[in-house]
């Protein structure tokens, strides 16, 4: 007798769920009640499924939950450290820095540290600078003296000219 493969073909095609085969349509149920080979086929596949499901299942170890908690805590900690500063706080951070610089500048300028005697901006006090200042003072004195003597000479010349004019008259 030729082996019937009606159910096998349906199973292979995926048109039948072997786990729910008895709940399928009455026509299949009728066929199964009459066909020994198909009944055996269904029975075998159900047993395979049951055998696979009877395989011993693993359970996580006792430390699993504790280890997971530790890993999570570490991740949370890392996340907090990496959390970006909110925009307002960031603004406040930079604004306070700028304010500190402005206050320091106002204080420094008010003390006059940055201005030299001619009020021409900052200068650095060093031996070389002191020498330069001395030279400049000496030069200025010379110029003043020269101007004074020139002034005297001009006055003398004017006196002489007035005397000459008076004698001619």
């Amino acid at each position: 007798m030729e082996k019937c493969n009606k159910i096998e073909q349906m199973v292979i095609d995926g048109t039948m769920e072997i786990d729910l085969v008895s709940e399928n349509d009455p026509e299949i149920e009728k066929h199964l009640s009459e066909c020994v080979s198909c009944r055996e086929f269904v029975s075998d596949l159900k047993k395979v499924s049951r055998t696979l499901r009877s395989a011993e299942k693993l359970s996580v170890s006792e430390q699993f939950d504790h280890e997971l908690k530790m890993k999570l805590d570490a991740v949370k900690e890392e996340k907090i450290q990496k959390t970006p500063v909110p925009l307002f706080n960031k603004f406040m951070y930079y604004a306070s820095g700028v304010a500190a610089i402005v206050i320091a500048f106002i204080y420094v300028t008010s003390t006059g540290i940055l201005e030299n005697s001619n009020g021409q901006g900052p200068s650095v006090i060093s031996p070389v600078t002191i020498a330069s200042v001395d030279q400049a003072d000496a030069k200025e004195k010379n110029i003043t003296d020269s101007l004074e003597s020139l002034k005297n000479n001009v006055a003398d010349d004017e006196d002489m000219r007035l005397n000459v004019v008076a004698e001619e008259q």
Partner: protein, 191 residues
């Protein structure tokens, strides 16, 4: 916590997204063993399988806001864990190329755990070994589906979503895989 037991995975995920950590703990409770069993088949080593499962739950925690209700939570969690396992295996495979000792020799000095000494448990261990090796002999496309359906007891729809294939294909492949296993497990199936 009792209240959480009554909620679906998706409801728990939604609550977790709102900041309820107890919902996250319930999801961990529901999936830790299932994931371990599934990932163990990839890693073949309990300790590394547990590490992968823990890492998967950490990813779930960190990426909770990325979960959208278009997929089932189980599909999302399994996808994360499977991807982590595959990445770990790929890394291990690269490392093994530079290793002096081969993979076959790794467990030569391992002492088998003989905690269960009764005849029944010995038979059960033997059956587990036969089941595992029989599944391992299957083609990739059959192996995954058998594990998901008969070991992890996922629904056809969940498997279809996870593997991104039609439900009909899941059923067809599953039955073909069972037909192959029928021959390998013949002795045990008839018992």
């Amino acid at each position: 916590m009792t209240e959480h037991k009554l909620l679906t995975d998706e409801e728990l995920m939604f609550r977790f997204q709102e900041g309820d950590e107890a919902s996250y703990n319930e999801l961990v409770k529901r999936y830790k063993d299932k994931l371990l069993n599934h990932i163990f088949y990839y890693m073949k080593e309990r300790e590394s399988a547990e590490d992968i499962v823990q890492d998967a739950f950490i990813r779930v925690y960190l990426n909770k806001d990325k979960y959208k209700e278009i997929a089932k939570v189980s599909t999302w969690i399994y996808t994360i864990a499977i991807n982590l396992a595959k990445t770990a295996l790929a890394k291990a495979s690269k490392m093994n190329k530079f290793s002096i000792t081969g993979k076959d020799g790794e467990n030569d000095f391992e002492i088998k755990d003989k905690k269960t000494s009764t005849d029944k448990s010995v038979i059960k261990n033997e059956l587990n070994d036969v089941i595992m090796s029989s599944i391992d002999k299957l083609e990739d496309k059959f192996r995954e589906i058998v594990r998901l359906r008969d070991i992890d007891e996922m629904s056809y729809e969940e498997i279809a979503a996870l593997l991104n294939i039609p439900t009909g294909t899941v059923k067809s492949r599953l039955n073909r895989a069972r037909l192959n296993l029928r021959d390998n497990l013949h002795e045990y199936v008839k018992k």
